[in-house]
Symmetry: C2
Subunit: 222 residues, 2 copies
DNA sequence: ATAATATGTTAGATGACTCTAATATTTTAA
DNA sequence: TTAAAATATTAGAGTCATCTAACATATTAT
């Protein structure tokens, strides 16, 4: 295991490569909120340790070893989040920041026990898959709310955003993982969407919010 | 809050001052397993931050501010240990090392929740008192097993040693916090002690082990 | 093909924390 | 009261992780 800083670099490289394919030094700098030369020297160090392969202007790629480390950290992060919600009774909007710290705890006993208590869970409180202890990740097929036709009914499976303000927003709207929603109206003008919710209420979501909500279609046009 | 390193210095200074009164740079170096000059410069830094008062050859003293920080860390450590035992089902011999990491987690929510779940506990799994959120600590009067006369019966209230090997040793002997024991024999020659235990077994403890076990006398000589 | 833009590097410095080697001061004991 | 022992300090250097300022290279758009 590397230092805390190293772990955060590895994790960010993994996240960016999932999101955008190529990972540039400059992108990483923005994500980690450090300056370019800092990233430049750290990437060199990671390359020396065979955690990444780096070709200037071509991007940074995690090696197998690096990927394995990233997945181990993500596993710990997501197990921690679920534990905080299920066992400790915290809200899904307040666990990410704590998990950012707990993911660096070095104790197989601790995480083995969490995994056991939660009965080898497959998803975190935000619907993100939890890699198993070998780093294997179950990748669901994902459809965003913004891609659904009017009239369709779907179940919310995940949200791709950990930020408290976003989750507070969903809480205020009364939306949760597992909720069933029907698309009532898609606005051409601003991309906003009106949903019919199990609570019987109609909910309006902006494009910006809807695109971060992932669903599985359960009922096709009636 | 200071850095992780700073927190560990503060905690060690507190522990040493409880144990031996005066805390010398040299003692601290031994405890933290770093060299003298490292401690020397860190102590200067802590003094600049008004966390300690330092007079060479006279010892290091925590200021009120430093004491408060130490107690906050100790509180987190002990809450974590108890949580790991009571909620997560780990053994008292394996929680210290994990708590050494969890004590640095910065989240009042996390610790507030642990405190609540455990119902504002007063003692950790080793019988050590847990400071309250104001840093107030309930200091029990302590009698060591080695100070009991033959024939007395007492209850084990605490052990002053977190090391796994020591606690493994007690586990092997079948001794736990709360157990009632009667002093059968005190050996003059080597200071060892023979106990009658609730399990009906006789248990022999060396002086080295017995002196780390604290008790409350429940039955005086019959 | 040149200019503009995106992307990356080098040099040199800083702060936190650590080390070794050499030296200094204070306390205590003979 | 001098020597020995305990305690502490300074000087100088190294690693990790960061920064600013200046410069360099590659990609792309005109
Ligand atoms: Mn998260
Ligand atoms: Mn999550
Ligand atoms: Mn402990
Ligand atoms: Mn303890």
């Amino acid at each position: 295991m590397g230092s805390l800083t190293e772990e955060n670099y590895i994790k960010s490289i993994y996240a960016l490569s999932e999101a955008t394919g190529e990972v540039y030094v400059s992108e990483l700098a923005k994500k980690l909120d450090v300056k370019l030369p800092s990233v430049n020297s750290m990437v060199k160090r990671l390359a020396t340790k065979k955690l990444v392969a780096y070709a200037p202007y071509k991007g940074i790629k995690l090696t197998e070893k690096g990927k394995k480390e990233a997945l181990a950290i993500i596993r710990k992060h997501r197990l921690a989040e679920l534990f905080l919600v299920k066992v400790m009774g915290l809200g899904w909007e307040e666990v990410h920041d704590i998990a950012e710290q707990l993911e660096h705890v070095n104790s197989s006993r601790f995480y083995e026990r969490i995994d056991e208590l939660l009965n080898r869970p497959k998803f975190d409180p935000h619907g993100e898959p939890i890699p198993d202890s070998n780093g294997k990740i179950y990748n669901q097929q994902r459809t965003s709310l913004i891609d659904l036709e009017e009239g369709l009914t779907a179940t919310i499976t995940a949200v791709t955003e950990d930020e408290k303000s976003f989750l507070d927003h969903l809480n205020a709207k009364g939306l949760q993982i597992g909720d069933s929603v029907t698309i009532m109206k898609r606005e051409m003008f601003d991309g906003s969407i009106t949903l019919q919710h199990k609570s019987k209420k109609e909910i309006l979501l902006t494009h910006q919010v809807a695109e971060r909500i992932w669903v599985e279609v359960t009922v096709t046009r009636s």
